[in-house]
Each structure stands twice: as C-alpha cells, then as structure tokens.
C-alpha cells in the first residue's frame, strides 16, 4: 500500500517567486535541510544512476541464459541467476530502466491531466466545474487496482502490452483522479485571493491568470502529487507485471518477481529470485514517500518534529494553572 501524507489542504505553499538563482538555491536548501527529503532524493538518484549506468555495471545481457538453472548468489553472479540461467543483477539494473521509465511517464502524464482537470474545473466554475468534478469523483470512486487489471488484461490480450507505454497509459488512466481533486480544492481557495481578483480586475486573460498567478502558487502541491503518483505508478506497475500482465519477456523488477513466482522459487528455497527485486522496489517507494513527507513538513510547520522543550512548557504550564 502506498501512502501519501493525507493532510488537510489548508497548507501554505512555498512560493517560488523570485530570481532563478534564488529558486535554485532555495530548492537546494529545501533538499538538504530536511533529512527526509535528503534521504528520499538520494535514494531516487541512486536508482536513476544505476539505470543509466546499467551497461557499465554488468557485462551480462539480462535476457541471455548464461548458466544452467538457478544458482545462488556468488562472486560471478552477485544476485544469483534465474531458472533460465539469467543473471539477476543484470536484470535488476536493466530492469530499473523499464520500471523507472514506465512509472515516470505515467506520473508525468497523470500530473498533466491532474493539473488540467483540477485547475480548469476550479477556475472556470459553474457548469464546467459540475461536469469535470463529476468525472473526477466517479473515477475516484471506481476501484483502482481492479480497473487497472481489467484494462491491462485488455492490453495483454491484444498484444499491445509489448509497448511499455501502453502500461503507462493504463496507470495514467487510473491514477489521475485523486490529484485532480486535491488541486481543484487548492485552486478553489486560491481563486478567492486578492491577487487573483486584482488580476481579473485588470482584465488579464484567464489563461494568463492561471499560468502566472495560480500555477506558481501550487507548484509545491503539484510536485507533491507528482511524487505521490510516481509511487503509486511504481507499485501498480510492479503489481501488474507480477500478475503477468506486463511484457514478461522484457526483464523489469516486477517481471523478475513474476518469473520467481512462476518457478515456485520460494517453495524451493531460491530466495535470491525474490529478495533483491523486492528490496529495490521497497527502497524506491520508501525514498519517494519520504520526499513527499519531507515536502509536506516544509509546507506545514505543524508536522515538523517538535523538540521536547515545548512539551515540557505545556505540562509546566498546566501544572502551574492546576496548582492555583
């Protein structure tokens, strides 16, 4: 289960107005000051680097049968081999590309859709809002994973799932509604602010208002939902591949687990077919979640970890009051 920090939408956004240099340095400060974000970003960067550098990290082709059968980890094969004799470490580093790429594309597409739907529905109001809101809510209520499975099996039956972007599309379709709703709520509150009213009064076009007044104030929220969607996409993608609905001939983290399950690796005691892929997925998701939590903390000071001092103040205060 992928958890995003479900907070009240009344969070103050970090505004990124100001010069570009300020923006860059403020982002950098945000990343390094908060331990959660720092951890998360480093984990994600680690995996991205691994994915990019895959050919440098392993001499093996992830699809090639190198040895006979499934061997436990050894110096030649750090993570052991699959039932068909393929090197698991190679499958993990090359598979990282697939997993990351699909999830990334799904997250980007989903975020764009969220922004468009959420912002337009809130800004334009009236009938547009009614209709778009209805669509958002309907998608919200439909159960996500079953719908994803049904769509993915359609893709699989027609052979379309060979193209990894089809899976990204399926994930997009089922993940956009939550973020759209969050953005809509935020936009609704922003719409009433003075600077928006002022811009409207001066006759600026809606599009310009949205892009230059509202959007910049929602960047942190959009970033947060993007990360949340990314986590969901990774989890859902891995789940689909585990069920065999992805392209099982192309190694990715979920496909590794699919073959491990198919070959009953657990019952036979071949834990190395399961553990590395699972740990990578967990680390990646945890890292992304931490980024999200960290960003939440930055925007909502109340969530920050309190120093014990304040607690003592309260109890001293209550004792002082009580003893009167």
């Amino acid at each position: 289960m992928q958890v995003t920090n479900i907070t009240n939408q009344k969070t103050a956004s970090i505004t990124f107005l100001g010069s570009k240099k300020d923006r860059v340095s403020s982002i950098f400060r945000a990343i390094t000051s908060n331990p959660k974000i720092a951890f998360g970003v480093s984990v994600v960067t680690f995996f991205v680097l691994i994915a990019i550098a895959a050919p440098l990290l392993t001499p093996y082709d992830p699809n090639a049968s190198i040895v006979k059968g499934s061997l436990p980890p050894s110096w030649a094969h750090i993570f052991g081999t699959t039932g068909l004799g393929q090197d698991i470490f190679a499958q993990i580093v090359y598979g990282a590309r697939v997993t990351l790429m699909v999830a990334f594309v799904a997250a980007i597409g989903s975020t764009i859709l969220q922004v468009v739907m959420g912002l337009s529905s809130a800004y334009y109001g009236g009938m547009v809002d009614e209709v778009l809101s209805l669509i958002i809510n309907v998608f919200l209520v439909l159960p996500g994973l079953p719908l994803t499975i049904v769509l993915a099996s359609l893709a699989s039956a027609s052979g379309a799932n060979k193209n990894e972007f089809v899976i990204a599309l399926v994930l997009l379709f089922t993940s956009w509604s939550y973020g759209a709703r969050v953005l809509r709520a935020q936009t609704l509150s922003l719409k009433e602010r003075e600077f928006v009213a002022a811009a409207r009064a001066t006759g600026e076009s809606s599009l310009l208002i949205i892009s230059s007044e509202i959007l910049p104030n929602e960047v942190s929220l959009i970033a947060s939902t993007f990360v949340g969607t990314f986590v969901y996409a990774v989890g859902a993608e891995v789940a689909l591949e585990f069920l065999g609905l992805g392209d099982t001939s192309r190694p990715s983290w979920g496909v590794i687990l699919y073959w491990a399950q198919n070959n009953a690796a657990l019952i036979v005691g071949k834990w190395w077919q399961f553990v590395p892929a699972g740990i990578c997925i967990a680390l990646l998701c945890a890292g992304l979640t931490f980024i999200n939590f960290g960003m939440d903390e930055l925007s909502n000071p109340r969530l920050r970890v309190e120093r014990p001092l304040r607690r003592h103040l309260i109890s001293r205060k209550s004792k002082a009051v009580a003893s009167r």
Binding site: S65, K68, G69, G83, L84, G85, S156, A157, S158, G159, N161, K162, G244, D247, T248, S249, N262, N263, A264, I267, V268, S318, K319, A322, S323
Partner: protein, 576 residues
C-alpha cells in the same frame, strides 16, 4: 486544586485494548494447535488422490460429452460413464468393454457392436442399444456436444435389437472403432431424454446414473469424491474411494505430492523435478514421461518463400536438433524425421527411417538456398534475387519456457546459418492459437495430435480438407495449410493415402499407407519435426502400486487421458 490524577482509570484503556487483542490472538493460535496443518497420513490404502491438471477449481460439469480439457470433470468420462470398446492409447490394442464384440462390414462402411449382457445402470435398469443410439443421436441434435466431430463420419445409428447397435458410415472408416467405440461415453436414455434445457449445460452433479466402476458421492469446487460402484459389471477395483481436489497451480501440486496429499497427477514439466520431487523419496516418487506427439516447426506454406521446397530443406538443415533437449526442455527427446513418435510407435516406422537422423549442415543450407535463388548479402544474410532480404519470425507462446528456450535456439541457429530470424513471443495462448489457425505467422512451433497409431497425427496435419484459403481458419493441426495450392501436387497423394488407411482393416495395408506418408514427410517436408511432447505423469507408490511405466508400459500413464486413466485405476492394488 486537584493535581494530575496519576491513577485515572482512563490511563489503562490502551493497555486494556492491547491486552484483549492479545487474548483474541492467542485463542486463534490455540485453535491452530488443535487442527494440525500437516496431513493425516494414515495411508489406509483405500483412497486414491488424483489431480488431472492443476489450475482451475473443479467445474460443475459431470457431463460425459466433455473431456477434462473441454471443461468436464475428471471421472465423468471413464469412471461414471464408459465406452463401447476400449482402444489402448499406448499399445493400440483393443478390448471389449460395454460391447462384448464388434464387426465391420467387408467394405468398412458399417460397424456393428454387440453389447455385453448383464450390464446395469446404477439405478438398476439394464443397458440396452437404445441407450447407445440415444447417446449418439443427442450429439446430432446438439452439435455442441459433438466435440470430436463423430457425426462427420456417421450416416446413421440403428438399434435393430436390444443388444445390437449398427453404425452406418459415410465413407469406409477403419478408425471408426476408435472414434466411435473408445471416444464416446454411453449415457442412459431414460434419464437424459428427460432433462430440461440444453444438455450441453447439464451439470449432472446430483447422483449421476452411469455404468462405470464409480459413483459420485460428493461434489464441491474444491473436492470431488467418488466411491466404488458395488454393482459394477467388471472386476471390482481395489481403489474404494477416489478424491479429486482442485489445486491452483503447478508448484502447489508438487508440494502436495511431496506431503503425501496426492498420489497421482499430470502436472507439466518443472526443471526442478529432481530436487523438488523425486529426490525427496526416490523409492516411491516416480515420473514417467512417455512421448505423446511430435512438436513441429510449422512453416506457413501460403507465404512465399516457404512454399519453395528448397527453402524448407535449407531451414531444416540449419537447425541443430540435438541441442534442443536441455535446460527447461530436458524431457523433450529429439523426434524422428518422419514425425512418428518414438519409441512407442516404432513398429509403424518404415525400416529405412528407423534410425534416421536429421541433416545438420551449414553447407547444405547454402546449397538449398542457392537452388532456391537466394544469395548471401554483404551482411551475411540471405537475400532473394532482387536484393530483398529474407527475414522470418517464429511464433511461440510467451511463458511456455521449454518452447521459449527451444525457439530461441532455433532462431540462433538460423541466424548463424545466414537466415535472418526473430522470435515472435505471443502474449498468451489465445492470440498464439489465433495466429497459427488464421495463417498470420511465418513460422511457429506447435504440437501435433496424439493417437494410438500415426494415422491420427498425420490426418490432422495433412488432410487438405483441414486447410483453408488465406484469411480463413484451418481445423485440425493443418496449420501449415497443406493443400492442393501449396503442396506442389503432393496433397492429392497424402489425401489418397489417408483414405487408404481409413479404407483398410488389414494392418499391413495400413502400415503401407503410413509408410508412404512417411516418405512424403521426409521428402517434401510439409512441416519440420523437432522434438516430442510427452504425457505428464507423476505418481507415488507409497499407497498404491501397479502403475504403468517404461518397464511395464501397459497403458499411457497420464491421468488426463480417458478412458485410459480409468484403465490404470482398475489395475491399482494397495502397496501394503
């Protein structure tokens, strides 16, 4: 005034909650201790646990018109309902069953059965010829029941008296004894004539009335139980009870075999069979994988240049068969170039082909391709005369790892020989099957049919009636679309030889027909034999003995072939 009440009762609330949860959990754990999770292996050998194939819950269809492959329950055929005349799938020998004797007319257009006297249905009524006639007529009335297409052979079924049945055939048909006598299971007219609705949907799970050695005691999607029929007309089986569980996948099935919960199953190949299964108890845990049919490389003869015999010869010479049976496909021995399964049907292979091996020669590839008008391009791959590169893809179902592996080897071999080839991994069985039946493929790996003689695979493979014009679906296994337009005139010969076999009751004439078919297989290469498929047969002798195996091959051992599986059960005796 009052200080912090350090001893407020509320303080304990979380503790109380946790404590009560703990209590609940421990009760549950105690319940664990009660019922053990290991099996009660008091192997009182009266019960046989059999699994015909893992994967689905037991369907609710005790309808003898459906094999287990077609969604029927294990035992509906063979255990509840029986055939007229048994043909042993492995040895080809025939023996009386519900019919005591049979006779063909001299021109093989009429097959007469004389029923065994004294056979009763489990409700006490006698078996008569009207039951047999009804069984067949019902298939004519409801074609969905006739999934073996017996009415393609039949003109009519008559019951001149209560113990005689006469089948009038459309053409002379020596295979009618097998197709009508062994493959159709007789149902009682007095019950089935009165069922309401579509007989194809008749679940028949409430006290089905049959002639067979077992009666249905209970049915659930998780477990079927049969008990022996004490009024059975034949020798009483020693297996008193048969239980058929539904097991969700292969690995669970293997685990249950090891734990002693299963005696017999037909689960597909697992490269870890040795470590997983046989080595756990080598004295009792056994497997017997006998050849069942030949796996072929089909080439789409309706697509150029596969209709060119020289191209087919070239591809044939490029593949190294000897390296195919390894790794995940260890069990699959190299086939015989005639496509007849060895060693089971050795007697049918013409002497000159008995020890024939496949050509594997790069120079031969070059010769044939040249004769076909192809030249190697600068990249080392063949091009046709006008410079267009020759490429081909080989279809396989993604996930059938033994065939995945072998197709990869084949593609590697072809590329090494200069023929540009790729693997086309179909995402599932259905799209793959669609592709090969509709001719949307270049080359594909696939099975052929099995049967007690080579006629059955050859007929399905080569009969031009099974072929179809481009775009339409073929039937049988004529995936290569061998007919008058693609066979260079040879399909007329193969059709004639097939008809010759059907028209001769004399086994020598039949062997001759098969031998001539083998000639065409070897010289014309309508398809390229690769390896053999096997019958999946895993069993343990812990509780029961009398199983067929390589040394005592009295029948095919896989539990999913009826009526042979029933035959095996009737041979079992308690191990202790």
């Amino acid at each position: 005034m009052t200080p912090n009440l350090a001893f407020s009762p509320h303080r304990y609330r979380p503790a109380i909650t946790f404590f009560s949860l703990l209590v609940v959990l421990s009760i549950m754990l105690a319940a664990c201790g009660g019922s053990s999770s290991t099996t009660t292996t008091t192997s009182h050998p009266t019960t046989l646990h059999v699994l015909s194939a893992p994967g689905q819950p037991n369907p609710d269809l005790f309808n003898s018109y459906f094999t287990t492959n077609q969604g029927g329950d294990f035992g509906a055929q063979g255990l509840l309902y029986e055939e007229l005349y048994f043909t042993n799938l492995y040895t080809g020998q025939t023996s009386p069953w519900l019919a005591a004797s049979y006779s063909y007319s001299s021109d093989l257009t009429q097959l007469t059965f004389h029923l065994r006297p004294g056979v009763k249905w489990t409700d006490g009524q006698p078996l008569t010829s009207s039951d047999v006639k009804f069984t067949f007529d019902l298939m004519k009335q409801y074609p969905a029941l006739d999934q073996n297409s017996v009415w393609a052979l039949l003109k009519s079924v008559d019951a001149p008296d209560s113990s005689t049945v006469v089948f009038s055939l459309v053409h002379p048909q020596s295979t009618a004894l097998f197709r009508l006598g062994d493959q159709v299971y007789i149902v009682p007219k007095h019950i089935w004539a009165n069922i309401s609705g579509d007989p194809a949907k008749f679940t028949n799970d409430k006290n089905p009335i049959g002639t067979g050695p077992y009666k249905l005691t209970s049915y659930s999607t998780d477990l079927i139980t049969y008990k022996v029929n004490s009024d059975y007309w034949g020798t009483k089986p020693q297996v008193q009870t048969i239980q058929v569980p539904s097991i969700k996948d292969n690995t669970t099935a293997i685990t249950e075999m090891i734990q002693g919960k299963l005696d017999w199953m037909g689960t597909g190949w697992n490269p870890d069979y040795n470590s997983l299964y046989t080595s756990k108890d080598p004295q009792h845990n056994k497997t017997w994988f006998a050849a069942s049919n030949t796996v072929m490389l089909y080439l789409n003869l309706q697509k150029a240049p596969f209709n060119n015999l020289n191209v087919r010869k070239a591809i044939n010479a490029a593949i190294n068969r000897n390296q195919l049976p390894q790794g995940v496909a260890q069990y699959a021995a190299v086939a015989n170039p005639t496509g007849v399964i060895i060693p089971t049907l050795n007697a049918w292979i013409a002497p000159q082909y008995q020890s024939m091996s496949f050509t594997y020669s790069a120079s031969q590839v070059g010769n044939y391709m040249q004769q076909a008008g192809f030249k190697k391009g600068s990249d080392g791959f063949y091009q046709n005369a006008s410079g267009k590169p020759f490429t081909m893809s080989v279809d396989v179902v993604n996930g059938w790892s033994d065939w995945d592996q072998d197709v990869q080897f084949i593609v590697n071999d072809l590329n090494a020989a200069g023929i540009k080839a790729t693997v086309n991994s179909e995402s599932g069985f259905t799209p793959y099957y669609n592709a090969i039946t509709s001719g949307n493929y270049d080359a594909a790996i696939s099975w052929t049919n099995s049967g007690p003689t080579p006629y059955f695979p050859y007929q399905a493979l080569l009969s031009s009636a099974n072929s179809a014009p481009p775009g339409k679906a073929v039937v049988g296994t004529n995936f290569e679309r061998w007919d008058s337009t693609t066979s260079n005139g040879f399909s007329a010969q193969t059709d004639k030889l097939i008809a010759q076999y059907e028209a001769s009751s004399d086994s020598n004439a039949q062997k001759q027909a098969i031998a001539s078919l083998e000639d065409i297989m070897v010289s014309q290469l309508p398809v390229l034999p690769l390896t053999v498929n096997v019958y999946w047969d895993e069993y343990t002798t812990k509780n029961w003995k009398g199983w067929p195996d390589a040394n005592n091959a009295y029948d095919a051992g896989a539990p999913y072939n009826m009526p042979d599986a029933a035959n095996v059960i009737l041979h079992l005796t308690p191990a202790s």
